[in-house]
Amino acid sequence: MRTFGGYVWADSPLHRAPAAAKLVGLVVGAALVLAVRGPITLAAALVAVAVLGVVSRVGWRRLLAPLWGMRWFLLVIVALNALLFSVSEPLFSLGPLRLTLPGIERGLLIAARTCLIVVLGAMLTATTTPQQVVHGVRELLKPLARLGVPTETAALAVGVTVQFVPTLLRESRQLMRAQELRCGGFAARGIMRRAVSYVRLLVPVFVCAVRRADELSRAMEARGYRVDRRRGATGERGCS
């Protein structure tokens, strides 16, 4: 199982930058990419992302991998724009489909923007652990906390959930196999019985998740994690 979230252990300015800054950077970067119109701005954006990519020391394989995963989606975007963008003279037409030069351009531009944003996102997840993302989200939500929204708890819950995804997935697969052995396969049966099987699967997985979350929160506290950094001690918290 590959690392969830795809963090790459390395030391670079991007790894060291605060997660909150990177989250804001991602949003600003995406907005700039969306503002790209012509070949010159596109080239500038490409160069900027390439420079960031080198600085991040993550490796192009990891940064470009998500693009390979969405290659069909990108192809469809280009094709739809190329064939359905019908303002100008078609190069070629077949029924309602009209291949136009501006259509192709537009399709390529949208695909390029999507790619750039995805690579920026990959750069964030490769240089920031889920834990740091959680911390960054918390920093950014601070103004809300002042209004009484329990952002700390929300951020912690997100972190814990993210951390357990691989383990829970593996456990569900094991349980699924056990249930298949005991009461037949999951596939090829009535939809109701399948639904019942899934519920039967969910209950133990949920119970496991709660127990895990409890143990993990204790382990985190033991290693000096403090939900509220202003308060010196969490020792007053009872044991639930």
Binding site: F4, Y7, W9, P166, R223, A233, G235
Partner: protein, 275 residues
Amino acid sequence: MTDERIVEARGVTHAYVPGRPTLSGASLDVRRGEFVAIVGENGSGKTTLARHLNALIPLQAGELTVAGIDAADHGRVWELRRICGMVFQNPENQFVSSVVGEDVAFGPRNFGASEGAARRVALEALASVGLPGFERRDVHELSGGQQQRVALAGVLASEPDVIVLDEATSMIDPRGRDELVAAVRRARVERGATIIWITHDMELAARADRVVVMRAGEVVAEGAPERVLTDRELLSSAGLEPPLVVRTWGELVRRGVASGPAPVTVEGLVSLLCS
């Protein structure tokens, strides 16, 4: 080992549910650098005592100091947790990051180390548990023994004086157990760490300096393994069995082949048989 008492617990009492105490007046002294094994049946309160050592639960009654820090002093809880590290039973439930190096750096970061310092001590700690170069690996790809050593590295990275292991070998295979034992031994030799190891494994307890027996929330006996682990009556009253070597020796004595006090380790048995 010095005479300085690094852990002093007096009459520690704890009830999760009012009126039903899990710990009822447990007392324990541990000297700096000592290796103490705590044994006792399930529900005897071992984990609850360990949680107190780390100030994970509030002290309800009694006194407890670790390296001179009062566990009841809320202002110093953080300090206490740095001085006393914990390795838990289930390796998978104690990782905060799926990347080994990140997980090991978690403690130092929480305790205020700079990013660079946290990374450096994380690498050192991984090397000292025999996992150099593992920093980029995914914890979910490691064996149980390796995972527990990563957990130990995560504790060592904060440079604790005391390391508490709560049934840390009960979910891993014998080879993983031996790897963890070796890594803990190295931490003790190289860093002078004090070890408090809660275990059901009598062979492991036999290698401790001292064995502490708990029953129904109290420390009912303590002493050298040669004394405690050969006392069948005491052990059975605490729901425990002597190590295999002791039982074997008992059988040899009963058949008149051997005589004298029982050895507690295989090495002890061999040297007695060969002498």
